[in-house]
């Protein structure tokens, strides 16, 4: 028999899963327990157990943390730091779990639920170990995961070249620093802009690295 289109099969599988769940609830009612029929996890789902471990894939300056499992689980926020149990960059990024599909070994579509965080600005001069944890919306915490981000192989003696566009930033920084030195204060917008200019010089500069890049 001809297979229905993929999106129809996905709906059929989800409907079958709902029927199965409903059947379980009706057949084995747990006394005093509240069941909520739902397609997606919500904050009111304390019965969900997160069992899969987070995996981390990293590039030069980014790290992607992914949790995948076959059953729904809550969204959450990620926190991380450079020492175990000490998460100095925390709970700034919140993501919802999304339903995804992939092919298994026999080329069949498999449904799964995925929570993914993309972290940027992770590369340091030397290789750096990071430790992270996910705080799920139901209040549970993942186990700690760790990875080592490769370093730039940079040395303090590397010569630094700047793009021309950075030169105007340097001029503006000089101007603001001189004025602030004389006056002793900056307005809030000026202080924010001043720091952003400094960060810009780091983003736009060109560094001759030890490894020849």
């Amino acid at each position: 028999m001809e297979q229905p289109p993929f999106h129809i099969r996905v709906r059929q599988e989800m409907a079958a899963e709902r029927r199965s769940r409903r059947s379980t609830i009706e057949d084995e009612p747990a006394e005093g327990e509240y069941f909520q029929e739902m397609d997606y996890p919500t904050r009111d789902s304390p019965d969900i157990q997160v069992v899969s471990a987070a995996t981390v894939a990293f590039g030069n300056d980014t790290a992607t943390v992914t949790v995948t499992q076959s059953t729904p689980f809550p969204g959450g926020s990620i926190q991380w730091g450079t020492a175990t149990g000490v998460y100095t960059s925390g709970l700034q990024q919140h993501k919802k779990t999304v339903l995804t599909t992939s092919l298994n070994a026999t080329n069949q579509q498999v449904l799964s639920y995925t929570l993914q965080f993309k972290l940027t600005g992770m590369q340091q001069a030397a290789a750096q170990a990071y430790f992270g944890q996910i705080r799920y919306d139901d209040g549970t915490l993942s186990s700690e995961f760790t990875w080592t981000q490769p370093g730039l192989n940079a040395s303090a003696n590397d010569q630094v070249f700047f793009y021309d566009k950075v030169l105007t930033d340097f001029a503006a920084i000089m101007n603001w620093a001189e004025k602030a030195s004389q006056a002793g204060w900056m307005l809030p917008d000026q202080w924010t802009n001043f720091r952003n200019l400094v960060i810009n010089t780091a983003w736009y500069n060109y560094v001759k690295w030890n490894d020849g890049r």
Binding site: A125, A154, S155, A156, N157, D158, Q159, V160, F161, F162, L167, F170, A171, I173, M174, N175, A177, E178, K179, A180, S181, Q182, A183, G184, W185, M186, L187, P188, Q190, W191, F194, R195, V198, T201, A202, N205, V207
Partner: protein
């Protein structure tokens, strides 16, 4: 900068004001491609990182209680 007697502001300590003066001089050197340390050698990564961190390490105090005297 314009004098705004009632605007909240970030205030620098005497030490921070000295650092800001140094930051300006170092930015001048690096803009010309020279190490702030020697003013003859090229800029090194260590020079740049130290300069950047000296600015990002400033910790002014936020003061929202005006009016403030004109200290320009």
């Amino acid at each position: 900068m314009p004098y705004q007697p009632n605007s909240p502001r970030w205030e620098f300590t005497t030490g921070d004001r000295t650092t800001l003066k140094t930051i300006a001089a170092q930015a001048n050197a690096m803009m010309r491609g020279l190490s702030p340390a020697s003013l003859t050698a090229p800029v090194k990564r260590g020079d740049f990182d130290a300069w950047k961190n000296s600015i990002l390490g400033l910790t002014p105090t936020f003061n929202s209680t005006g009016p403030f005297p004109d200290t320009r």
